[in-house]
Every structure is written in structure tokens, then in C-alpha cells.
């Protein structure tokens, strides 16, 4: 399954990691993809994320953080793009293991990413805490979006 393996680093503009060497070369292996078409798929995505986190050795508390982050990102897909995908991957470098959550859709995209990352801003009448909340609780965070083409949010949590 070589095609599941890739070497790359997520986002250069993320919130940064306090783990030394975290930006050294990484091996990323995609474990699961969950198609998100409706609210019931949110539950499936976060349960698979929790299971993967536990398999990697994350504590109950950390696994709940992973599941909560997935829930927020998957719900954004349902709310804004109608459908998309949650991709769960294991990441390892020389010293650490972690999990990468990618939420990808081909929805309308986000016109103003800075705005969407501000606390209190939401165009769906939500709490506006989804994206900024996820960003502050993960080790690395990246968002790519183009209006009319879709959005890809990547979040990494080290064990």
C-alpha cells in the first residue's frame, strides 16, 4: 500500500508546535476516509477518529479532543459544503506519533479565512467557535480555501 504513504509537512502558517523536531521529515499514512453527506456521518467520523487516536495511544482525554475536533470540522462540511470527506491519518517522525485530521470539500469555499478564524464570527448563525476553537486546541492547523472551489482544513495533534 505504498500509495498510502507520502512525505510532506502540513501548513507552514499553522499555530505552531511546541514539540521539538516536529517539523522534521514525517511519514504520513492515511488510515480511514469517511464520506460526509449528512449529520449522521459526523458521528461515524468522530467515532473512527477516537478509535484511531486510542489505537495510537492517546489518552481518553486526548481522544475526546480528537473526536470533538472532527465533529466540528465534519459539521462545517455539512453546513457549508453539503458533502465532503474526513481523512484520518497517522503521522510519525523520528520522535513522535500523532494524528492528522483533514476535512476536504468542494463547497463554496471561504472568502475571508482570517475572518472565519476569528472568535465570534460565523456565517451560519452558529457560535462561531468551530474553526478558531479547533485551531487553538491542536498542535498544527492549516486551512486552504478558494471561493467556488472548496476548502481543505488540516489539523495535527501529536501524542
Amino acid at each position: 500500500m505504498n500509495d498510502n504513504k507520502a512525505k510532506f509537512g502540513i501548513g507552514s502558517g499553522g499555530s505552531g508546535s511546541d514539540k521539538p523536531g516536529a517539523r522534521a521529515s514525517r511519514e504520513i499514512r492515511i488510515e480511514t476516509k469517511v464520506l460526509i453527506k449528512g449529520v449522521e456521518d459526523i458521528v461515524e467520523a468522530r467515532q473512527k477518529g477516537r478509535a484511531l487516536a486510542q489505537e495510537l495511544g492517546f489518552s481518553m482525554t486526548q481522544s475526546t479532543l480528537v473526536a470533538t475536533a472532527i465533529s466540528e470540522l465534519a459539521r462545517n462540511i455539512v453546513l457549508y459544503a453539503k458533502q465532503g470527506e474526513i481523512i484520518l491519518a497517522k503521522v510519525t517522525n523520528d520522535t513522535h506519533r500523532g494524528i492528522i485530521i483533514t476535512a476536504a470539500d468542494k463547497g463554496p469555499g471561504i472568502a475571508n479565512i482570517q475572518h472565519a478564524l476569528m472568535s465570534g464570527y460565523s456565517s451560519s448563525g452558529g457560535l462561531g467557535l468551530g474553526l478558531p476553537g479547533v485551531r487553538q486546541m491542536v498542535d498544527e492547523f492549516d486551512i486552504k480555501s478558494r471561493p467556488g472551489e472548496g476548502t481543505q482544513v488540516t489539523a495535527l495533534m501529536w501524542l
Binding site: V39, E40, V43, Q47, T64, L129, P132
Partner: protein
Amino acid sequence: MEIPILKQRDYLIASVQSVLTDEDLTNLRDRLVQQVGRFRSQGVILDVTGMDVMDSFAVRTLRDLAHMIRLRGATTVIVGIQPEVAFAMIQLGLRLKDVPTALDLEEGLAYLDRNKGKRTLPNHE
């Protein structure tokens, strides 16, 4: 999956024992708001022990539920928030604000008994 709502004395008790979808939660909210009137209940205890995750949607829905029930003249108390769920809520910046909480069902009942007829919480923001 429909969450059963039990009637005990002047109170309604709903206990979440499994993972909920968004629809299950809004459905529960709507049924509780209706049944408070049907049974002339003074209080509602919502036991969320079984909720695996409390994300922004769940927190907002629980706050709405408590405020709607307040408007119907009864008090809601949320019980059973697990330690790791509480941790994740704080990490995400999610707050239940003025919605009363208690450790478990027993403490929830004690809270409602203490505040019976007081029409106290939740206060206006």
C-alpha cells in the same frame, strides 16, 4: 434514536445513554419543551453521561433547550458531563454559561428541590 423521557414527581428526566446525532438532540429538545407543559413539570434533568462529545452544536442546543424550558416556566439542570468532555469543552472555548449543572442525577434532583418555586436560573445574559 429517540431518548426516553421519564416523569418523576414534578420533574422530567431524560437520560442520554448513547451517542447522539444532531437530529436526536434537537428532537429531544423539542419533546422536552412540549412535555414540560403536558405534565406541568417544574424541572427538567438532562443526564448527558452517554454523550461522547460536546461540540459547539451540542452546547448551543443544550443552552437553547434550557432557555426554552425557562420560558415555559421550568428549570433545567444538566448532569453527568464527563471529565474528558468538560476538558474538551474548555479547550474549545465552549461555555454553558448560565445553565445550571450538577454532578449526577442525585445532585440534579437535590438542586431542583432546593430551587423549587424560586424561578431563579438561568438568569438573563
